[in-house]
């Protein structure tokens, strides 16, 4: 049933996109979903909650990644990041009555997500942010809103077909990432770079044998250069993407979970997926089951 609905959404969007393309020849892809911005949202929330403060302020700072096509990507000349994570951010902001153009996007890299939340540099982090116990000890993570797994991106002519083939090869990812640790455990020589794009370049040059990280990110890159790159092996880890919030505002957890659940039900989650990761040929996954919020 849902499959049919997804297809309908994709088809509908495809039509909408092709129509949009007529009017706006300059931009290809990077279309986003229009979400209904809640009106008078501040009245919905209890006094003293962070949600009310944000709704009254009319702006929210959301940390996303800028170098993951499909998940969170912003080119040098773009005004706004595009991808599944920014779409989720828009859905959450809309629930607070904040329009997409009033969101203040902040680039976060893997390293600074916790400090940014702890210091109030951002209100939310939606940045392919896997839920772990260690992270949950110092920041809040609601969700998951998406579950993916680690895979390998190799050149089209590569011999690597199974996970066992990576032993003794050089595999790159982002410095200090969980993916890099996982692949090291498989016997590969880990090569850390600052950004995924540098890592992809190394694969294309043949300097490293493969790149590894969450399948969704890899498919985004493979979709950009389908002739040169391919994604291999079944996912060999489970990454549950959560939405980070500060532990100073534990009330945000229930609100995030409610908003995400609502987006599951009204189809906006699937729509957000279809126009971002869906473009790269990824099938809409099962809607993940959300973790219950810690009792404050």
């Amino acid at each position: 049933m849902r499959f049919i609905r997804t297809k309908a959404v994709v088809a509908g969007l495809g039509l909408a996109l092709s129509l949009a393309a007529c009017g706006d020849a300059g931009s290809d892809g990077g279309e986003t979903v229009d979400v209904d911005v809640a009106e008078d949202a501040a009245a919905e929330f209890e006094d003293g909650t962070r949600m009310k403060e944000l709704a009254e302020a009319g702006t929210i700072k959301i940390g996303v990644k800028y170098d993951q096509p499909g998940i969170g990507f912003k080119g040098a000349a773009d005004d706004m990041p595009v991808g599944f994570d920014p779409e989720m951010g828009k859905i959450l902001a809309a629930n607070l009555g904040i329009a997409a153009e009033d969101i203040e996007w902040v680039e976060t890299i893997s390293d600074n997500r916790e400090p940014f939340l702890q210091e109030g540099e951002v209100d939310l982090v939606i940045a392919s942010y896997s839920i772990t116990d260690e992270r949950r000890a110092i920041v809040g993570q609601a969700g998951p809103y998406y579950v993916t797994g680690q895979q390998l991106l190799v050149r089209s002519d590569s011999d690597i077909e199974s996970l066992a083939d990576v032993e003794g090869t050089e595999v790159c990812s982002v410095t200090g990432s969980t993916s890099l640790e996982n692949i090291k455990a498989e016997g590969a020589q880990p090569r850390g770079f600052d950004t995924y794009s540098e890592c992809v370049d190394q694969v294309l040059d043949g300097t490293v044998d493969a790149m590894t990280t969450d399948g969704a990110i890899l498919l985004g890159y493979a979709a950009e250069q389908p002739d040169d790159l391919k994604v291999v092996v079944e996912p060999f880890s489970e990454e549950r993407y959560g939405i980070g919030y500060s532990l100073d505002y534990p009330e945000m957890c229930e609100w995030i979970n409610e908003t995400v659940t609502a987006s599951f039900e009204d189809g906006s989650w699937e729509e957000a997926f279809a126009v971002t990761l869906g473009e790269a040929g990824v099938e809409a996954p099962e809607q993940p089951e959300l973790d219950p919020c810690p009792s404050a």
Binding site: D111, E134, A137, T175, E181, G192, D201
Partner: protein, 228 residues
């Protein structure tokens, strides 16, 4: 810090890579830097120019850019140094990443070594060189026997600063495929986010210890070479 103590072998291995980068590029930069310094103070105008241009280029370019050039641009141009992985040194295979990092660090540090040496040569009274030439020594002989030994004594402190800077500069390699101390620290903080402060301190202490070893050995040299 618990995360560090329970993975202490990884901690040591990380500083081992840092030390490897430091020792290889430190020695290489001393050799290249000395040659450049000799060029700069030598009598051949072309060599003076070549060395001066080298120093101007590499001293004025940020190390990060040299790294980007070596690690990102060179492979695009077809020079990926993958052939070094076939070489075997004492049973170990060098990695192309290590070689590229060492080249970047050496190119950068040599410019500073050259200038440190030049300051030492300038500190040797002119009469020394003139006396050496007047007893019939060639330029290379007078450099080797008279000028450089005296210059070396004068440059121990500035040269130490250059090498200490190099030791800390190895951390730039963290972003270019080397699992050295800084990259490993980031892996640790990713795994055990709640112990961020302890992990940071453990790695900062590691760098401090290494730098202190370099500094103390330079003091020993200074004392030994002191003019009586």
């Amino acid at each position: 810090m618990e995360a560090v103590f329970s993975n202490f072998d990884e901690y040591l291995k990380a500083f081992g890579v840092t030390l490897g980068l430091f020792v290889v590029s430190g020695l290489a930069s001393l050799v290249l830097g000395t040659i450049l310094a000799v060029f700069r103070v030598g009598p051949v105008a072309v060599m003076q120019k070549v060395a001066a241009v080298y120093v101007t280029i590499f001293r004025n370019t940020p190390l990060l850019m040299i790294f980007i050039f070596m690690a990102v641009a060179m492979p695009k141009l077809g020079y990926n140094f993958l052939w070094v992985e076939d070489l075997e040194v004492a049973g170990y295979n060098l990695s192309a990443f290590f070689v590229r990092s060492c080249i970047a660090l050496t190119l950068y540090t040599s410019a500073f070594v050259c200038e440190a040496f030049r300051s030492g040569v300038n500190a040797v009274p002119l009469g020394q060189a003139e006396a050496a030439r007047s007893v019939g020594l060639t330029f290379m002989q007078s450099m080797r026997e008279v000028v450089l030994p005296q210059a070396l004594r004068a440059v121990v402190p500035p040269l130490t600063s250059v090498q200490v800077a190099l030791l800390k500069n190895t951390s730039v390699a963290a972003a270019f495929g080397m699992a050295e101390a800084t990259a490993t620290m980031r892996a640790f903080t990713n795994n055990d986010t709640d112990q961020r402060t302890g992990i940071f301190l453990a790695f900062a202490i590691g760098y401090i210890v290494l730098v202190e070893v370099v500094t103390l050995s330079s003091y020993v040299l200074e004392r030994r070479w002191k003019v009586a």
